[in-house]
Each structure stands twice: as structure tokens, then as C-alpha cells.
Symmetry: C2
Subunit: 607 residues, 2 copies
């Protein structure tokens, strides 16, 4: 402690809080001590340009580091690097981190999070000298000015260090995760993991800057044990303990392989990855954690746990820093998972002042309705039609899949990668049915007519009754839409739409009162909203209100890494979300039958 140094007053804007700090320290150090930490990516060495504060009066002369990182217009308005100036006298500074409110989660086009409040922080420390009756960890704490939770082995670098040698320490909350001699160029780094039944996505973030430095996705290697959640849960049940271990190993290998690729791409080491957040449906979270998912395969489909969980990476066998806390976002019920919670947080629906709907379309479609301080959620078993499973010419959304269909005088199909058509994916299926409804070849009961549309269109109809089909694309391998495909889409959309109906009715709302609709998930991101309205999956009044968010779950996982206040939000959202079990709602059965029909089509699509 620096002996007789004088204390001077530091007024922090926008709160106006006053703190007495030791003169002679840098503003960066003083603000940290005053529990008003400013983001820094370089440990205060003037290299990262992140620790900006604004001097509203008497701004000091810009330093070379200021000039390097701050534009001249910002310099003129008093912005300086907190690490480049020392506190000398009573001063007033604006600390942008303290100004960050609910609206600060602004993402740029490149998906960057611009305001930061990560749990993971790096600090450059120079330790006071050792003493016989003082543990080395206390030297760290003295240098840092706060308590640290440290595993003994993570303190090893202190053991043989010279007195006065500098260290960079990385903490997540109070936990010491990494301690390395000298300085480090960037970071700390975190990993957001979105564990889907089919696809697993991993994102590496520089939590010092909020920048995404790498992103990868891969097929979930559990695929060989079953395509959907139900079949994997059954596998674990049939095979018992060993089946569970196999499924856990498969997803662990998927994740570790993604991490290896990302480390190679970014030049980082496993020990550099100090924090992780995992989202996924409840079954995937059970399997990543090695917890028996049998309860998700039998009524009442309750998960083993619901709360936010944190487990060290080493315990899970994930190839991060073994001491990195891995946060698992909370779940709501057996089929409304951390992916939905993360998506809801990422879309900020819990703070919406007007009624908002969040929809994640997939094998299970999860729907959340937030209105008047309540959040009701359900999971509708749509079946795999949106993934084109069980469809006559169905295929995954890969090159050559028909993904867009337009029908007027003739039929035009768009394929993924503009490759020659090979089959029909979920968006193509939905488009095809929507367009056939438009031209009257499919009627509101879902029956495909033997004629209709222009001559060029009508001649594409072949077969009779249940074997009737419509030729979408000619070629080496013709792509058809079968009568039975229309029936499957009817079942899927009926489940989702009647789920939405039930939520609206529980909240006492009309569809028209909903102000905003977030459509999440890969299918939701690529689907034409007009077709969803035309087949009646969405009410017509939603048409202008839809925002297609892409991977909202993954975005939510990134958000909680970058801003720990959102972790608190995620807990609240999960606690507040009321789960509506559709199977036990009488209304659901009635609506489901009604919603099997498509809306009557006129020139203007109507509800």
C-alpha cells in the first residue's frame, strides 16, 4: 500500500457517486478500486484503447496512447484512456460502463456486442513481497484489492516467481481461473455453446472487447443414436448407464472438436478460454452433463433440475481451461429449455412494454408470449415436417434442396447454393404448399385438386386421391410435393398455431394486440413470413410485426458471457416463465382440430 499518498475526490458520472481515491494511481486503477471497473483488454498498458472515460472539465493533455486510440473529435470532447492518466486532484469523469443500462446490448451488423460487463476480467498485477506467515494468494489479493477464490494448483506460477515480477490474472466473478507471468495481448476469452439436437454451434469471444473472434458449427455426433430428442432419450433408457455415457461422450467429442478447430483458427490455447455459457434444449443439457434424461421421456416430462448451473470445464472433460466455469442457462420445463430462455433474453422480451411473441420453429416449436408482466410458454410437438423428415422428396437444408417456390403462370423453384434440384427442405415444403393454396390447387382442407392454375401448372399434377402429387422441379431426379406431404405440414402447423392460440387465450389477448413477433432458429430465419401467414401458422395480423432473429439462443449465450447482468435476467426469465402443458389444456385439442385447416384463400390472404 502506497504509504502517505493523499486521497482525492473522484466524482463518477452519470450517477454522481463520489469516491475518495489515492492520488498518483491511474484512473484505471483508481476506478477499479472504487468498484467502478472500466473495461481494459491490455491490463492498463495503453494498447487496447478500451478504457475510455470522458473528462467533462479540465481534460488532461492527450497522451500518445490517447492519440493512437481516440479520434480527434472524441479527444476534443474530453475522451481519454483511463490507463494513460493519473489522478492528481479532485476530478469528475464520465464512466461509460456505469451509464450502460437495459438498452446497452447494442449489436453491430457483425454480431458484436458493444457494451461490456463480463464476469471474466483480466488484470495486470505486480505483487507485494512475500512473507513467511502470508500465503502467496494473499499477495494477489492485496495487489487486486479484493478476495479471490483460487484452487491451489492455479497458484503454482507464484511459487517460484521473483519478487516484483508482473502477472496477468484472469478472474471470473471472484474465481481465479488463469494466472500467467507477464502481460497478455488480448482477452479474456470465452466460449458460447449452442447445443442443438442436430447442430452444435460454438463462438469464441474476446470478452475484453466483445469481439467474436471465431465461430463454427458441426453436426451433433449423437445423430447416430437417433435423429431427434425422443429417440436419444429412448436410447439412454434402453442401454442404461453405458448408453448415457456414450451419448455424453458423443456430444463432448462434438464440442471438443469444434473447440480444437476454433483454437487452431484463433491461435489460442485451451487455457485461454476461461469462461463458457451453454444453451440447448433440456435433453441436450442433460446429456452434456451426464444426467439421465429418462424423465424427459415419460409424463409429466419434468427435467431433473431447472436452475442456472455452473460446473468447471475440467469436470465435464471440455477442452477449455480446466478451471473455467461453464454456465448452463436455466430451463423452464422438460421441453422449454435454456435455448428458449437465452433467446428470450437476447430478444429482451422480458423488458418489452407491449405484448411480444417469441417463436422458435423446429421439431418442437417453442412459443413464449410476454404480456403485462407475465410470460407464458409452451412447446408444441410439430413433428419433423419443418426439417422435411418424412416428406416424399424431403432432404436437409443442403445444396440442391428446393428452398423457395413461387407459382403464377408457371412454377419457379430456388435451391440452396443454386445447385440442380435434388429434394425439398422445410422452407421449400412450406413455400410449395403456400403457393398451391394461392393458386387454388390445394384447398383449405388440404386436399390437392386434379386441376387448377394455368395450363403449365395444371399439367404438373399427376396421380389420384392420396397418391396425387405435384411436380415442383424436373431434372435428373424430379422433385414432387405429395398429397401426404400437405397432410404432414397441416399437422405441424396446427400444433404450433393452436399452441399460440392457447397462450393468447391464457393471457386474455387477441393476436392483433401483439406488437412484435421474434422468429428464431435456422428455419425461422430463412422462411418467407408471407408463406407462414398463408398456411395459417401465423395470424395474418403478425405479417408486418415479424423480426427474423436467426440463432437467438446462441446470441443469448454470447450475451450472458459479455454482460453478467444478463445472467441475472436469464435466471429471472426462467423463474417467471409459466409453462403451459398443451396436452392437458382442453382448448388445445379443440383448436388443434380447427387449425388443421388452411385459411380460406382470397386475392388478399386473410386470417
Amino acid at each position: 500500500m502506497s504509504g502517505g499518498a493523499e486521497k482525492v475526490k473522484l466524482r463518477l458520472l452519470p450517477s454522481g457517486r463520489e469516491e475518495y481515491v489515492q492520488s498518483g494511481r491511474t484512473f484505471l486503477a483508481a476506478l477499479r478500486r472504487a468498484n467502478a471497473p472500466v473495461t481494459s483488454g491490455c491490463g492498463g498498458r495503453g494498447r487496447c484503447g478500451l478504457c475510455r472515460v470522458q473528462f467533462l472539465v479540465q481534460a488532461p493533455e492527450p497522451s500518445p496512447a490517447d492519440r493512437e486510440h481516440i479520434t480527434s473529435s472524441d479527444l476534443a470532447t474530453g475522451w481519454r484512456l483511463a490507463c494513460a492518466h493519473t489522478v492528481e486532484r479532485e476530478t469528475t469523469v464520465l464512466v461509460p460502463e456505469l451509464a450502460a443500462g437495459a438498452q446497452d446490448k447494442v449489436r453491430s451488423a457483425a454480431g458484436e456486442v458493444q457494451a461490456l460487463f463480463p464476469a471474466a476480467r483480466q488484470a495486470a498485477v505486480t505483487l507485494p513481497p512475500p512473507a513467511a506467515d502470508r500465503a502467496h494468494v494473499s499477495r494477489l489479493e492485496e495487489a487486486l484489492g479484493r478476495k479471490v477464490l483460487a484452487r491451489p494448483w492455479s497458484l503454482s506460477p507464484l511459487s517460484a516467481a521473483e519478487t516484483g515480477a508482473p502477472f496477468t490474472m484472469t478472474t471470473v466473478g471472484r474465481k481465479l481461473v488463469a494466472l500467467v507471468p507477464g502481460g497478455v495481448p488480448g482477452g479474456p476469452y470465452g466460449v458460447a455453446l449452442d447445443v442443438g439436437t442436430t447442430t452444435v454451434a460454438a463462438y469464441v469471444l474476446d470478452l475484453g472487447s466483445g469481439r467474436e473472434v471465431g465461430a463454427r458449427a458441426a453436426h451433433n455426433r449423437q445423430g447416430s443414436y437417433g435423429a431427434d430428442v425422443v429417440s436419444r432419450v429412448s436410447y439412454a433408457q434402453q442401454e442404461g448407464e453405458s448408453g448415457l455415457r456414450e451419448l455424453q461422450r458423443a456430444i463432448r467429442e462434438t464440442i471438443n472438436h469444434l473447440l480444437e478447430e476454433l483454437l487452431e483458427e484463433t491461435g489460442l490455447e485451451p487455457r485461454d478460454l476461461v469462461h463458457a455459457a451453454v444453451v440447448g434444449n433440456p435433453a441436450m443439457l442433460h446429456l452434456v452433463l451426464g444426467a439421465d434424461p429418462a424423465c424427459l421421456g415419460q409424463a409429466p416430462f419434468a427435467p431433473l433440475w431447472r436452475r442456472w448451473l455452473t460446473v468447471d470445464a475440467g469436470v465435464l472433460g471440455l477442452e477449455l481451461n480446466p478451471g473455467a466455469p461453464v454456465d448452463f442457462l436455466p430451463v423452464v420445463s422438460g421441453y422449454v429449455g435454456a435455448d428458449v430462455v437465452a433467446g428470450a433474453v437476447s430478444c429482451d422480451i422480458h423488458n418489452a412494454s407491449e405484448p411480444v411473441v417469441f417463436l422458435d420453429l423446429g421439431t418442437n416449436g417453442e412459443i413464449v408470449l410476454a404480456a403485462a408482466g407475465r410470460m407464458v410458454a409452451c412447446s408444441a410437438a410439430a413433428g419433423p415436417a419443418f426439417e422435411a423428415v418424412g416428406i416424399a422428396c424431403g432432404m436437409s437444408a443442403l445444396a440442391g434442396a428446393v428452398s423457395r417456390v413461387e407459382i403464377d403462370d408457371d412454377v419457379r423453384c430456388g435451391t440452396i447454393g443454386s445447385a440442380p434440384p435434388k429434394g425439398l427442405c422445410g422452407t421449400g415444403l412450406t413455400d410449395a404448399v403456400a403457393e398451391l393454396l394461392k393458386v387454388g390447387i390445394v384447398d383449405s382442407k388440404g386436399k390437392m385438386a386434379g386441376c387448377g392454375g394455368s395450363a403449365a401448372v395444371a399439367e404438373r399434377i399427376t396421380g389420384e386421391g392420396k397418391a396425387r402429387r405435384f411436380l415442383l422441379a424436373r431434372g435428373e431426379r424430379p422433385v414432387y410435393l405429395a398429397q401426404s406431404d400437405v397432410r404432414k405440414l397441416q399437422l405441424a402447423k396446427a400444433a404450433l398455431r393452436s399452441g399460440l392460440d392457447v397462450l393468447l387465450s391464457q393471457a386474455g389477448l387477441e393476436a392483433a394486440e401483439v406488437e412484435r413477433v421474434y422468429l428464431a432458429g435456422a428455419f425461422g430465419a430463412h422462411m418467407r413470413v408471407e408463406s407462414l401467414v398463408r398456411i395459417g401458422l401465423l395470424p395474418q395480423c403478425f405479417r408486418e410485426k415479424v423480426e427474423q432473429t436467426g440463432n437467438a439462443a446462441g446470441a443469448g449465450a454470447k450475451d450472458v458471457l459479455c454482460d453478467r447482468r444478463l445472467a441475472r435476467d436469464a435466471r429471472r426469465v426462467a423463474r417467471r416463465m409459466e409453462f403451459v402443458e398443451l396436452a392437458s389444456e382442453k382448448e388445445f385439442g379443440r383448436r388443434y382440430v380447427e387449425r388443421m385447416w388452411f385459411p380460406e384463400q382470397t386475392r388478399e390472404v386473410q386470417l
Copy 2:
């Protein structure tokens, strides 16, 4: 919760506390809910006989279970099993667990701890039915009436369980460690580990009854990397990371092998061992935890950490229940370790009202002086003489080692196992020098005379000057005491005695003011106190005050498992203990030179 059941008043003695509890519950359940847990080893099924309470008035009719477990005289004074009776009306009971104060750590001759307050507890639970929006862990919590910290994988047994199926759950503090369907016969079980540089001891305790069900000791497999702490620390330093890993593996294997033997002996499974406490010197703790001990090999010899630590067994690779918390008792300095803290707690020196000395004799002799609310401690580098290392005919304390020497008209030697004499162990060395002092063959400066004693004794002296030696035992391989052995013992005892002098002087006490002296460790347990006084290791006034405690460190480890209040005591003791660095005390150097001399011997030994 059980509907309209009436609440009735339960008065708990000796505190007089009043609690309202639901009628119809057993007293065992009611007391648990009222946060006055009574020890039970069978989950309330009338089998263990542990959950005794005393009804001071209106004792219920004894049940068959009462008659089975409680003597008729105790039945007559109102003792009953808390699980065998239900609360029906306002009642007053004496709960012995609540009466247990500082003095309750009564150990029987067999080393059993008779009063229990373990952190590990077992409870038989029957779960309320599942529901879609309620996690299974909440059912556990409802059944138990309190929050539980559970890892998802430890909840797996709930996943496929029938509604209404009974479980036995084991918690350590708030943490769920084991959950098994049905009932279990005993336990919960814990392991106390005393990790010595040379020997590792493991004790398995039934924490439901306090009974030690198994105990084993083995050589520390780190022995091949060096006999003492210093050489192992050097090894780790020279070999770096891989050396540290080797040393960690060696000690882990030592412990796991002991555990395997104990499991075989007791018929338990690793998952049954739900809690562990580890004591040892700081270097051993660093190595068990895989923390670089280099700091213990260079001034100022500070440990990496001092505090109480808890790490899951699975993280350390110890073959207990992977979720078992392994507690590492706190350390005071680089050479005053958890073994000393545990020994001090086990001897209750922190509660002593009069001055007390605790001495653990070994390669490093640790001394603690507790007086007037202070505790001062030091570690005196005695060298390996007490382990007979570097002694002409030195050997470990194994069969054939001369361990007792008496000299009057002739010389009589006792050997370990009464085997033919093969060498000299530490106690034999000390005895031999003490007896030669008594008969005047060794003088107070440590010089061995060429004659003295009876003719039969004198003829055993051979050689001249530094090569002079005394024949202790004839036989296949004669056992001698060499002049150089006397010098080594002088160095060792001078270090310990001057350490004691320094502590007394720091506390402003005379030796005579000390009321009680605890002599711990294997050497201390087997050494004749008279010889220690004769060579001047202990002041003469200690003679009648010595209690030889045996493995006080191991006893302390057992104590904290059986009574979690002692864990708090251990933390306090470690925090309060003031470490005195002998090397930096001027007085130590002066005293050390003085204490090289032996006390002048008269007919009656004097100081």
C-alpha cells in the same frame, strides 16, 4: 405438505427453545425440521438405536425398537428412540446433540468419537409426485424441507423412479453427494487422511455412529523421490511440471491403494465414501493438490495458500464418491501445517485455560504454545536424527530396531517385535544417550568418555576421540552408538529445545508455568519422557505434565469429520496461530548454542 395436520409445541432441552411442529410426524422428523437434528444411522427405521431423546415427563410406552436398543434403566428414565414415537401433543424432550458443548469430544479407549455432529448426513426420503413444471430436485427439497446443492448427474436415480419410491440421500452440508433407491444399512461413511512425508494413514469412519470401521497405513510412495520434504520440493523444482505431476501421482496412488484395501476390508463401495478430511504438512498438501511447492524451498518459505479448502474427490482423482467434498485443513506457514492445526484442535489446546504446549517431534519438530488467549507456533529443523537417519547403526522403527536402552550394572536393550537386534531407531538412540549421560559415560558437552559405569559397561567402549563408540547389543550384527551419533542428537534436541525457549520467551512465560504438554507423533508416542528430560529436550518441570497423544493429526482429521463445529475451530486456530520464524529470532541463535549441551546429571535429573 400434509394438509390440515395440527401444530403442537415442542420444548427442547437443555436450551429450552420452543418449536411448533406438525403433529403426527415422528420426533426424528419433527426435530430435523425444527433444525435440531438427532443422529440417525438407519433413516428412522428403528434399526440403529442412535436417535435417542429423553422424555422428562410423560414418556410414551416403550416400543419394541426402544426395548431392543435401550437398556431398561435408561427406559425407566424416559430415554426413547426419536424415530419410534410420533408427536401427538405438547411435549418436552432432552436432545443430547443439543447438549454437546466444547467438552463433548469424548473418545473411548477404542478411539471412537462418542458425540456426533457430522456435516455428512443420511436421510430416508419419499418424494412427492412429479409435475411438468417442477424439477425433480425440487421434489427432493420438498421431502427434505431444505435447499440442496446437487450436480445434475447425481440426480440421475430420480429420472426413471416410480412415484412413491423411497430413496436414501446423503448430504454433506447442503451438497447432495449420494442418492440411492431404497434404504441403506449404515453410514454415511467418511475418510480421514493423514498424509505424512514418510507414512500415510487412512481411517474410515461410520459418521452415523462415529465408529472407526477401518484403518490402514502405508509408506508414502513419494519416498523414491527423496526421504524428506526438502528433497521432494527440490525434485519438483528441478523437473518442473512433469516432476510435480509425478509426485502428485505417487501420493494419489498411495492414497488410492489404501482406500482399495479399506474398501475390501469394510465391504464398502467408493460411492459410499461421501466426505473426507486431509491433514499433513504444507508440502504434502501442496503435492496432493498438484500445487507447485517451490515456494516452500526458498525464503521466506510461504505456502501458496493458508485457508481451509474443499475440493471434490473426482477432481483430485481420489477413489471416493467423485462428488465427495475433500476438506483440506488450513495451514499456518510453510512449515506449520494442517497436521499441527489438526493436532492442536484434537488436543483442544485452543480452549485450554492454562498454558499448554503441543509438540510434534519429527524431522521438523513443530511446537505450539497456547497461553492467555494467544497461540505461538514454530517449526524447528531438527534434522532426521529422531528418525535415526544419518546414525551409524540407524534404521527405521521396524522389527529388530533397538528402541529401549537401560544401563545400570549392565546394558539391557529392548527391540521392536522383540526380534534380534539389527540397528538403532530414534527412540533407542535417545534412550541410549540418556542412559549414558546417567552413568557418566557421556558428559554434558556430549563427549563420550573412555571409561565409566560398571566394569561390564565400561568394556563396551572402544575407539578413541571422534571414532569412539559404545556397544549396545552384541549379536550377528553388533549395534553401536557412535560419538558422532551423540553430536547429531545434540543438534536435533538443541533445535527443538531452543525453539521452545523462544516461544516461552515470546509469551513471557517460564517453563514451570506450563500446565500440560501434549507429545504427538509416532516418535513422541513411543519415547520415554524421562529420556527426553534427561537429554534436555524437555525441561525437567514438564516431566509430570506430558500426555503422549499418538497420532494427534489423524485424530484431528477424524474429529472434523465427526463434528463440523470443530472445522470452525480448525479455521480459527489456523487464523489465530502466530508463526514465529526461528531463523530470524536473535534469541534462537544464542539459545541454540547453549542448548547443545546436555543438562548436568546428578542422582536426580535436574534442569
